[in-house]
Every structure is written in structure tokens, then in C-alpha cells.
């Protein structure tokens, strides 16, 4: 895009914001401008206040949270707080991250009508506007559907549609694709591209992993951990020349700018073929709906395995069956050469760990220390052993300074580490992870994968559910593709990338290194 003249649309002057006092504010003395028709990417580590900033920009904060702010935000050269209540929100629409907490009505039709009612659209015009908008986003057939029956990608499209009905000048996208499967992510990005030119939108995009968005981005803003504006400028210059500073701040660098792109995991030829866990003809239904049909699976000792497939394919269900949290309707499972059903509960939990998607679900006690010591106490170890082992784990996971804090008060990355640490009081034989990197920033994701690799090296078999094909490519020995109730592929990740048709059906993508190669068209031998 070339711009003859940049018109300032939204500008921020010496702006600071915090939920309590401005002594050490969350957003610290920001100055920047959004220009008409441009797409600006805002990046920064977790906790740098990116989401709060977007709510400040559309005038909700500080009033909605009784926070404090200084400085000024001007929209079309008029201070934001001079507008009437609800006025600025209409000019600056936001699509949020979580597809499940953006709606207040049951059906698509009513949700879209809710927006129109807010801006007092005459009733006679509503239906036509709703139909037109659904047509624009390509969801005509979903007008009367209940929102909760839609997929994550469809929900985000509806969230987008309901914001666009405001006919905003500025669209803020706050990690809109973070919770979507790879194909849905791409579809959403393509939709935004189409709409931007059609509706003449100025876009502010907040995104941890901006790889797929890059071609739409005109400019980058970088927030530091202290909530200060670190960089403001051209994409190329910042992502290339300031790369090291950004990495130090825990920011994901789009892979195409990385000097050394990630490599696939080399094949290790082990003679160890002893199975740790096997599943034979497992089937499972929920409410008369078949979820899994005739699943066979073997996990070899000490391997790292990924389970992939689109949202709702039954990946989590499969993991829950393996952990005996659900009972299959048919089939048998064997864990360490003993039928899973024969294991005593306590002994099973000692030998098999399970890390949930949301670490908070696993917390039981009031301090980080107790959290780690909990299972050991339960298993009747003596006090001294418990203390030594707990301190070891706290040190290892860099949680020793937080040992007397409440687990709920930890940062996102700390919570994630603690949830893993609680499973390691004794080295488990099998460790299951349900989408462990979901919605996490670069640093947390990296840390977690390092931890998992380390645990694997100690001989633990690891299984995790993920949408991130780069992780599969870099870390896994084996990958299982779950699609239409059954396993449609299992084998080395490098082999999976050769099956284009299957990848398409299961709504998967290739890892970055291959997508890039196909785009650039460089024939480059990667076989090891």
C-alpha cells in the first residue's frame, strides 16, 4: 500500500494508565498515532498492558474499572472523553480473544441485532442490515443458529460482524485468532484483508504470533514489559534490526525474520520399541454422538507424541480416556503392560501425570510450596524428603521466590510452570498435556517446550495435544492425526507434511519452514 498523505485518526499524547495509582503505571507515558487506512501491529510481552490499551483507546477505560489515567487520547482531533457515553465505542470497535465471552444473546440473529439496537437503528432496517452483514462474512446460513453450537472460527466471525455493524472507523483486533485452529486462523485473516479494503478500516492488531498477518501490516508498535513504547516504525527495520532487544523482552519474532529458522527434530533411531501405553479398538460417544471410533494407538517408551486435528475432533477426549478420566464404551487399554482398568487409583496417578489447558484448574492449596508438596504428602513421604524434593523443584522451575505466594496470584508463565512441577514429585512414566501452549506468549511457550524435552530425556513418555505444527515439527517423534472420529495418520512428523490432502481434510497446515519453502519456491534439501 502506498500512501500519498497520512491522515491522523487516533492519537495518544503522554498517556498513562493504571488500575490503582500512577506511581508505576501499567501504561507509561505513551505517544503514538494511528493513521487512516493503515494496519498497525502492536506487540509486547504478556502483562505489558496491550489489552488495557485497546480498552483505553475506545474510551471504556479508565471509567469502567475506576482506574486512573493521565494524558490524552484524541479521536479525529477531539479528546475521547469529550464524546458522549457510547459514542466513541461506536467509532472504535474491538474483537477480543476469547470466542466464548463476547456474546450476550443466544442466536446469531439476536446478537447482531443487539449491536443495531444499541445504536438505535430503526427496527425496519435491522433485518436487511443483518442479512447483508452475514452475507459479507460468508455466513448467510447461520442466521438462526445458536451461537454456542458454532465453531471457534465461526464465533470470531460473528464477533467481527457484530462490531462491524457499528460501521467503525477503527477496528482493534485483540489476539482474535489465538484460540482458533490453524485453518480457521488463516480464514479469519483473509476475511479481515477482504473487509479492510471494502470498508476502509484503520486496524490496530494485537498479536503474539503475527506470522500470518505480516503481509497486511504497515507499521509496528512495541510495548516493553514496563508499559513504555519501545519502538514505533516500519516492520522490516524493527523486526530485523531490533530483533535481539525484542527477544530479550520475550516477544515472538515472526519466523521469516529469524536468522536461524527452527529445524525439524532429527530422527533418533532407538532400539527401544517397548510400548508404554497402548489403545486397542477404543470407541467413545457422548450423548449419542460418536466422538471416537475404533482407535488404535501405541506410545513407545520415552517418545514425544503429538495429537493434532481440528477443533472438536476429540483430541482432549482421547487424552481423558488415556488418563482414565473417562470410560470408553468399547476397547482395551494397557499401561506399562497392565490393563488400565486394573490399576489402583493412587498408583495410577503416581505413574501418570496430566497437565490441563488451564493451570488454575489444578491448584488445590494456598501456596506454591504446598502445591508441590501436596502429592508427596498424600503418598506418605517423610517430612524431610518432601521438603528437599519440593525445594529442588521450586529451584528448578524458578519458583523459589514465589514459594509462599498463592498460586492464583502468579503470572501466566509461572502458573504454567507450577502446574507442570506438581506432576513431577516422582518421575512419572507417562505425562499428558492438553494444549499446554494455548494462548501463551513466546517465552512461556519456549520454556515449556524446553521443560518437556528435559522430562523426556529422563525417560518419561510424553503426549500433547496442540495446534502448533511448528512445535510438532521441532519436538515430536511421532504425530497422530485425529479426523472424523478416527486416527487418519500416525508416524514421523516429516512424513505427515507429505500428505497434502490429509492435511487439508484435517484442517492442518505445514510447519513454517515448509510453507516458506513452497512460497519462495526454493528447492532446498532438508533431509538429514
Amino acid at each position: 500500500m502506498t500512501k500519498m498523505q497520512r491522515n491522523s485518526l487516533l492519537s495518544v499524547h503522554d498517556y498513562s494508565f493504571d488500575f490503582e495509582t500512577l506511581n508505576d503505571p501499567l501504561l507509561n507515558n505513551l505517544n503514538f498515532t494511528l493513521y487512516e487506512g493503515e494496519t498497525t501491529l502492536l506487540i509486547g510481552p504478556s502483562g505489558s498492558g496491550k489489552s488495557s490499551l485497546s480498552l483505553c483507546l475506545n474510551g471504556l477505560y479508565p471509567d469502567a474499572v475506576e482506574g486512573v489515567a493521565s494524558g490524552e487520547i484524541r479521536f479525529q482531533d477531539q479528546p475521547v472523553h469529550d464524546f458522549e457515553k457510547g459514542q466513541v465505542n461506536q467509532q472504535i470497535g474491538i474483537v477480543f480473544q476469547d470466542p466464548d465471552s463476547q456474546f450476550c444473546m443466544i442466536t446469531v440473529e439476536d446478537e447482531l441485532a443487539f449491536t443495531l439496537e444499541n445504536i438505535q437503528t430503526p427496527r425496519e432496517e435491522m433485518e436487511a442490515r443483518i442479512d447483508e452483514m452475514l452475507n459479507t462474512i460468508g455466513m448467510d446460513d447461520y442466521k438462526y443458529e445458536a451461537i454456542h453450537t458454532l465453531s471457534g472460527g465461526q464465533k470470531q466471525k460473528i464477533a467481527l460482524a457484530s462490531v462491524l455493524l457499528l460501521e467503525p472507523d477503527v477496528l482493534i483486533l485483540d489476539e482474535p485468532t489465538a484460540n482458533l485452529d490453524p485453518m480457521s486462523q488463516l480464514e479469519f485473516i483473509q476475511l479481515i484483508e477482504r473487509l479492510q479494503s471494502a470498508m476502509d478500516l484503520t486496524i490496530l492488531l494485537i498479536e503474539h504470533q503475527a506470522d500470518d498477518w505480516l503481509y497486511l501490516i504497515d507499521r509496528v508498535l512495541v510495548l516493553s514489559r514496563q508499559g513504555e513504547l519501545m519502538e514505533d516504525g516500519e516492520v522490516e527495520s524493527i523486526l530485523q534490526t531490533k530483533q535481539q532487544q525484542l527477544i530479550d523482552h520475550g516477544i515472538f519474532i515472526p519466523k521469516q525474520y529469524l536468522d536461524s529458522p527452527p529445524n525439524p527434530k532429527p530422527t533418533i533411531h532407538t532400539n527401544n520399541t517397548e510400548p508404554c501405553f497402548t489403545m486397542e479398538s477404543i470407541s467413545f460417544s457422548r450423548k449419542n454422538k460418536q466422538i471416537l471410533k475404533n482407535i488404535n494407538l501405541t506410545l513407545k517408551k520415552g517418545e514425544m507424541t503429538a495429537i493434532v486435528g481440528e477443533n472438536g475432533a476429540g483430541k482432549s477426549t482421547l487424552l481423558q480416556l488415556m488418563a482414565r478420566l473417562l470410560q470408553p464404551e468399547a476397547g482395551t487399554m494397557t499401561f506399562l503392560n497392565k490393563p488400565l482398568a486394573k490399576w489402583k487409583e493412587q498408583s495410577l496417578r503416581q505413574h501418570m501425570g496430566f497437565v490441563f489447558q488451564n493451570p488454575e484448574h489444578q491448584f488445590i492449596t494456598d501456596t506454591t510450596y504446598d502445591e508441590i508438596a501436596f502429592s508427596m504428602t498424600l503418598n506418605g513421604y517423610d517430612a524431610e524428603t518432601i521438603d528437599t524434593r519440593t525445594r529442588e523443584l521450586l529451584n528448578h522451575f524458578h519458583l523459589i521466590n514465589e514459594k509462599s505466594q498463592n498460586p492464583f496470584a502468579l503470572s501466566g508463565g509461572q502458573k504454567r510452570r507450577l502446574s507442570v512441577a506438581t506432576m513431577l514429585d516422582e518421575t512419572p512414566d507417562l505425562l499428558l498435556f492438553d494444549e499446554p501452549t494455548f494462548g501463551q506468549d513466546a517465552q512461556t511457550t519456549h520454556e515449556l517446550m524446553e521443560i518437556m524435552t528435559e522430562i523426556q530425556q529422563q525417560g518419561t513418555t510424553i503426549v500433547f495435544v496442540t495446534h502448533d505444527m511448528d512445535l510438532v515439527d521441532q519436538y515430536c517423534d511421532t504425530v497422530y492425526v485425529l479426523n472424523e472420529q478416527s486416527i487418519q495418520f500416525h508416524g514421523r512428523p516429516a512424513k505427515l507434511w507429505e500428505h497434502d490432502e490429509l492435511l487439508d481434510q484435517a484442517r492442518l497446515r505445514k510447519p513454517f519452514r515448509l510453507e516458506m519453502r513452497e512460497k519462495v519456491g526454493v528447492a532446498h534439501d532438508l533431509s538429514h
Binding site: 438505535q120 490441563f356 502429592s375
Partner: protein, 263 residues
């Protein structure tokens, strides 16, 4: 032409169900609630396309509960109603005609409440009910849309509780034993559930306000909820039928209000 119940304005319908409910609470005889119960049931099936099977599935459990409750009531009737001849007696219990009438009347009144509630619940769309309360009774949009957003949370809440149970089971926490164990378990579940609910509620609130929601009444309505003549006819029919039952009851000499025989 009589209106279909599902098309009646939900607020008017609620009133049409509430008034007979309250007035019936005053009658202590058997005849009035019996007549009215028959009336409610016929209205339910004549004026809606509700399937009998679905209705009976809800009605029967209540029926059994009320039957057992009334049986207890029959045995422990207070002195005031212990008149009339003794019908039968066993152990230390004496069942009199007076006691029997009171117990049966209580059962019939309870069944009327149940039938009225089912009539309302099974023919009313919950969203439309809230919208109607806002449009007819000027309920604040803040509360209206707050409740509507709350509806959407219920299934997620259930799902989350399920995940929480699993997560704790993995950590080796078994089923709670004893009262203290239960209290501790409640605490363990409630903190993460509350923390998440508050976060989600805040997100929904932000999303709603970002779409221009102000909580004020100055908004247009996609579903215009109106009150028309047929809604009043329905209200009149529901209340009128009760008065007819009262009159008939009085005529036959059964009517008993608050324990006083009205004759």
C-alpha cells in the same frame, strides 16, 4: 378465536399465571382447585402444541413429591382441622374427614401451582420473557442483558466444573469424606470457578460496551414485544375461569377461604 399460549406476551402471561396462583392459595376446599386444575390442563393442551409426553415427564415427579408430602400432612393435621368423623386409624394416627379434605386440598393447590408454572415455562422463550420485562415493565436494560448474558454461562459453568473435578482427581484428591472434607472441597472448587466467572463476566461486559451498549433505555428493539387485545383476553380467561370456579364452589357450598366456610 382463542390465542395460542406461546404467542401471548410473556409479561402478561406471567401475570396471568401469578394472579390465580396467589388467589388459589386462599382456598382451603377441594372443589375449587380441582376444577381449576382441570381447567389449566385443558388450556395447556388445547392452546399449545406441547407434547403430552414432555409435559408429563416434568409433571409426574412433582406429582409424586406432592402426594408423599400430602400423605404426611394427612397424618399430622393440626388440631384446627381435626373435625369430622374418624375415617380410619392405625398406630397413634387418626385420620378424620376434616384432615383428609385439608390434605387433598393442599395437594390440589400445589398441583395447580405446578401446572401453572409448567404452562408458563414450557410455552415461553426465556429471551423473549426478559425482553418483554424490559419493554413492558421498564426493567433496566442493564439487568435484562445481564441476565441474558448469564444464560449463556450456565453450560460453560457445568463444563468447567467437570474439568475441575478431573484435574483434582489427577492430583490424587479423591472423593471428599465427611463434612469437613466437603467444606474443603467446596472451597477448592469455588475459588477457581469464581475467579474464572469474574474474568469472563468482565470480558463480556467489555465486549457489550464496546458494541455501544450503555445500559440506558434509549434503544430500538429488534423483537418488538407488544401487548394486544388477545393478551388481555388470555389474562381475562385465566382469571375469569378462577372466579367461575369460586362461584361454582360457592353455589355448591364447598367454598372455604382461609379456613372459613363461606356460606
Amino acid at each position: 378465536m382463542l390465542p395460542m399460549i406461546s404467542a401471548i406476551n410473556p409479561t402478561v402471561k406471567a401475570i396471568a399465571v401469578l394472579i390465580p396462583g396467589i388467589l388459589l392459595g386462599l382456598t382451603f376446599d377441594v372443589f375449587t382447585p380441582l376444577v381449576y386444575l382441570l381447567f389449566i390442563i385443558s388450556v395447556t393442551f388445547l392452546l399449545s402444541d406441547l407434547s403430552f409426553k414432555r409435559w408429563i415427564k416434568f409433571f409426574v415427579p412433582f406429582f409424586l413429591f406432592i402426594a408423599s408430602f400430602s400423605w404426611a400432612r394427612l397424618l399430622y393435621t393440626s388440631e384446627t382441622f381435626q373435625d369430622g368423623s374418624v375415617l380410619f386409624s392405625f398406630w397413634a394416627f387418626e385420620v378424620t374427614t376434616g384432615g383428609l379434605l385439608v390434605a387433598v386440598s393442599l395437594a390440589l393447590r400445589s398441583l395447580c401451582f405446578i401446572a401453572l408454572s409448567l404452562l408458563f415455562i414450557m410455552t415461553t422463550d426465556s429471551t423473549k420473557f426478559m425482553l418483554s420485562l424490559m419493554q413492558q415493565l421498564r426493567l433496566s436494560p442493564k439487568i435484562t442483558y445481564g441476565v441474558l448474558a448469564g444464560y449463556r454461562f450456565l453450560p460453560t459453568f457445568k463444563h468447567e466444573l467437570e474439568v475441575l473435578r478431573q484435574a483434582h482427581r489427577v492430583r490424587g484428591v479423591g472423593r471428599a469424606k465427611g463434612i469437613r472434607g466437603r467444606i474443603r472441597q467446596f472451597k477448592r472448587y469455588s475459588i477457581p470457578l469464581l475467579a474464572n466467572s469474574i474474568r469472563k463476566a468482565e470480558r463480556v461486559a467489555n465486549a457489550m460496551e464496546s458494541k455501544g451498549f450503555t445500559g440506558e433505555h434509549d434503544r430500538t428493539h429488534y423483537h418488538q414485544m407488544t401487548v394486544t387485545k388477545r393478551d388481555w383476553r388470555f389474562l381475562g380467561m385465566m382469571v375469569g375461569a378462577l372466579f367461575l370456579a369460586f362461584v361454582a364452589s360457592y353455589y355448591f357450598g364447598y367454598l372455604n377461604i382461609f379456613g372459613y366456610q363461606v356460606n
